[in-house]
Symmetry: D2
Subunit: 384 residues, 4 copies
């Protein structure tokens, strides 16, 4: 009998990151994939991932709407509470052998608690990393609830062991997002017109001479500054005069500050060189990055995929603090001048070299294989 | 301005355990106690603690009903989800400077998540211990969400440090339950008639020549066996012929098996030597223990307070696995013969010596003092 | 394609009442029954109906745990809120063509709201009656949410029309509980030993010379009196010296007062003539009634089935106020003397005649047939 | 002691409608106003009413975030369930003597159920009207839960009586929105520049020669058509060439279709004559209407306030079906040609006369006075 593997995806970026693991699980003859799509991954204003997921050939086993509107910290807590109420019903219905939770967004805790409390073996992808904000608490807290750990780097591997997890259940598979980056590097040309294919709003700049990609999320611990933070980036990118492809932020406490800042800036400035996207197929997004002058913002894509792809990154602020970096990252503060200076530096430097600090391109296959092999357990004891 | 310290108590035993810390917080001129009573601590069938708490001179700032009936694992998950929905509102209303969560019952996770997600500094009492079941996951997971740690023993102190917490925020105060035991040791005589004072049901045995106390909870990971487990103990205690004061179990997945087993046994056996209690004032309970032949079951009181009090304990099954022990504990399986043999052994041995492995009697005062001193933080980074 | 009919049962008595409708739906070739069991119908301490339901040959499509412990009025509201959260997911999964809700318990509102808000046609069984407490508000409120109405009496039929419902969607089918009573009247002998078959606790009286049945529920609007109310009945029945078969109350705000009163009375009195049951197969229960001296309490069974069966009823208090009555009902207050006097009166009077005020025995078949015929609508406009 | 009157406002338009009642309650020496703001009234993207409410001099006693994102029918049900969970806590904390719920939006049911189930006397403003969609079910269902009824017209008064409510608790006060309209008619000049004062997005048309106001909400029972419906209106208003002040829709299942339709139309058309507003102070909004050529859409403001103000209204589609009308309303279908034709007709006709079908301007004062006088009851029995 096939093992039923229930993977819960709560945001579009998480989906992109583990897509190859989902494929490997779906295609493994010993496994049955139960894909649950939840939270902002279902919502239009954060780039509803449903259609993308179905176009990629996945069947959605259950949809869980649990985002409580409000975009304040109380709503984040309540969204997690509702998530537990809903996911425990889903797990009751699907009766999985293993539940898989991804990374460290606050609502992934709902997946972890529901599975752990229902005595369902829990696997965690991307534990052991360090960032230093609420994600940090969530990530390590989930490590202590999880039975199996699929980590993305050597540092992360060592850290999960130090947290008292048994070495037989910690696996450094690399990050599945690198699998996708690896495929893209084989055919890296920009073979589509982003605006034509993805719509969005804004100007139609001539990007044939190069362009920047911007993706900047609010930082949950700096909610009150989210608007002023985004404005620094807006001013800097406006000042370059270069074409800019800008992606809307994901749903987090503070997104309203970020979104409002962007909308207000649009109303008050002529932004003919800016085009705004809600979301993009992950493969297309990686192609867009490979062919760009660089990525600006605070997305983990800059730290992870861009390391492998050799794309220059201007990493703004504290969100990716302490994550391991390849050779491609320039760290700056929330300061339009710093951003502009770094843009000039990147323009006058050679392209950075590829680094496989986050894996070699077979993470998805490794994860699927381990999921067929691990014993089904849900008790554990700290190793020290 | 006084620091507002919000302590969430979710079960009668937790209240007893930290009562002296509550007193010390209430009486500290720099602190304001906000006591929230939640979950089974409010329910009659698990020994509603409300009246006891108010008789002890505490004001209840909010009551949170969040126990979803069902006593299965799904209901435990949902109880936690509802707890988050409710507690986040309570924290919004009370606006505490620090939230305190106690120990490792599954629903304490609701307290921890609500506080952490709302950027309220979180203190955890009794982290760092080892038990090996779902409590184990909950306890260490909360450690990773908490900003301050008040631990009860040296081993626990070392373990929290190893988990990557900064040493400046880990304090080995000992367990507040020992404070209470310390007071009782000053006046140890049984100065009340338990049946007359606390009612309950069952026979009225002559306990002047000694008696046993039984307190056995279901183990969440062994739900299906909870009835047969309790029956072994019932048979053993019935066979002794000694007077037995038996306490009903707390609310957990599996409590119905335990409760049903006790009820059925009562119907089918003449249990004139048994008297059943729902709950007891903590001080009276400790006096009852000091004057007993010993404690039988799997309560942590046997490991903790009884070590300090020098009361012999027959610790049944896996629930207290790996907790540090004084000289007073005899570990046995779910087996009526083992239990009976150990009872004989205890009767023929000298009383065990007192041990302060869980503290020296000033835990409450230490906790209150540290709560006045720690900086108010809610961000942290793992130390390795 | 078969019409999917989703019936939500939230309490053991509701199940008994509509069992024949469930059978008729299940057996109708044009219908597919989706039976959802929820709330107290799932809980052991209120007579878990699951096993009975499955023994009767029904498949349970979904179980919904939504009872929030507390047994106060706030918990009743929250139980309804949780019910909506859970049932809306169930309806999403089952995708029924029609949802059926039964009678007027507070939590049935969750069924009605979920269906109405999700644009699923809603049928209501037993609307249009009058009682005068919170059930009254719930019942008529559900009538205004429902699209089809299966009522149990002529008065109810007229009342639903007066409430502005279109006559083409109001059907006086009689009450399905009478169908069962009708079957029992064909073979009325007490062909089982209640204590042997159903266990329970208490004495083993010789009931061959006759016995009384007691079923008394707390009244939500008189919560604070529930204990003193039940004590009047306990004293009266104790004074008769006759054998008494007593059924535990269902879950409602106030059940704790009722249950506590019964438990305390048992502890303090020698009740050898009392035997206590949690629940009974509906058919067996009707046989028990037919062969009894009479029914005492405030159950609607006394008003409804006992009218058809010709069983004398002592109806206590306000709970059944204003429900139509046959010739069998004696109304009394919460007063032990009134109850005792009426018992004597019944003993010295001839057996009352049967009345079909609540239907003629084919309600279930009628309901199923109408469910195949009604147009699937979920919009309506008041008729005046 | 003052009676505590808890009014729950769940949407910006509801606030505007009952503002004068809130003032009268606040200013009545025998009453204490407890204003609860909930649901979309708190959310930026539906015109957060918080600031307006506070600027109007009200203190907010509690905020309730209960909108579950998704904007599908399941989310509407769940939003109501969460509303019950939250509001029951609020009522526990505020302990009101009377709860007031307004009109018929789906989430107002949460207010009604929480109050009714907690035995708190419930007043309903604006019952008894007829519309014929989900609001219709909600409105009459709340009437059956409510103890006091403040209705806005003669027809509504008669209808509530026919629904079986006792005449002593039904009061035809007229609609509080007319109170505001009455004040505006005293000083009707447009003494502010809408764009300067309220921002918003879009063109800056010269509106000195007249303009249209558009407010069109999605209809919950026609969710799948919400985009095509809004497009008809967009095309028609675009074709007039007249200045248009357009208000974003409120939150309902289907709002995404409406909002998406508007956004897409803006991207694809040059709409220099359109300006879009999120919200406006109620008084300013009424002034805007008085000075406009007319109101287009399906807002109840067109039926109610505009009748009193004598403003021509093009009422589109089914949303206001069966509401009583003054002389000012032209009903049309979702058809750009019908809309355009009617616009021409209005331009060539004299201004309609004022009608007081919805009250004479003292509704708020009447409501406050009745709230001081009614007996505090929460039981009722249908009158037939």
């Amino acid at each position: 009998m096939k093992r039923k593997i229930c993977v819960v995806v709560t945001a579009r970026p998480s989906y992109s990151r583990i897509k190859t693991a989902l494929e490997a699980i779906r295609d493994n003859p010993e496994l049955e994939l139960q894909l649950v799509v939840a939270a902002s991954a279902l919502l239009d204003r954060y780039g509803n991932a449903t259609k993308t997921i179905e176009n990629d050939g996945f069947k959605i086993a259950a949809k869980v709407f649990n985002v409580l509107e409000g975009e304040n910290l109380t709503a984040a807590a309540k969204t997690t509470g509702i998530g537990i109420l809903e996911l425990s019903t889903v797990f009751d219905n699907l009766n999985p052998d293993i539940v898989v939770t991804v990374a460290d967004r606050f609502e992934t805790m709902a997946t972890a608690i529901s599975a752990a409390y229902m005595n369902i073996p829990l696997a965690h992808i991307q534990g052991g990393e360090v960032t230093g904000n609420i994600d940090e608490k969530v990530r390590h807290s989930i490590t202590k609830l999880a039975d199996y750990h699929f980590v993305a780097s050597n540092d992360a591997y060592e850290r999960v062991l130090k947290l008292g997890e048994a070495s037989e259940f910690v696996f450094n598979t690399g990050c599945p997002s690198i699998d996708l980056a690896s495929r893209v590097l084989n055919e890296p040309s920009l073979d589509f017109d982003p605006i034509q294919k993805y719509g969005g709003v804004g100007g139609h700049p001539d990007y044939s001479k190069g362009y920047w990609v911007v993706m900047q999320h609010p930082v949950t611990t700096e909610v009150t500054y989210s608007r002023s933070h985004i404005e620094e980036t807006l001013h800097a990118m406006h000042a370059t005069g270069d074409p800019v492809f800008w992606f809307w932020p994901n749903v987090d406490a503070g997104a309203d500050g970020t979104s409002t800042g962007i909308r207000a800036f649009r109303e008050n400035n002529s932004l003919e060189n800016f085009h705004f996207f809600k979301n993009m197929d992950p493969t297309d997004f990686l192609k867009l990055l490979v062919n760009s002058k660089g990525l600006v913002g605070n997305s983990s894509v800059g730290i992870r995929e861009c390391a492998f792809l050799g794309v220059p990154v201007i990493n703004i602020g504290s969100r990716q603090n302490k994550r391991e970096r390849g050779h491609n990252v320039h760290d700056v503060g929330y300061d339009r001048n710093d951003i502009l200076t770094t843009i000039q530096k990147i323009k006058s430097s050679p392209r950075p070299q590829s680094s496989n600090v986050y894996g070699g391109g077979d993470a998805g296959l490794q994860i699927a294989r381990y999921l067929t092999e691990v014993p089904l357990i849900f008790h554990k004891t700290i190793t020290f």
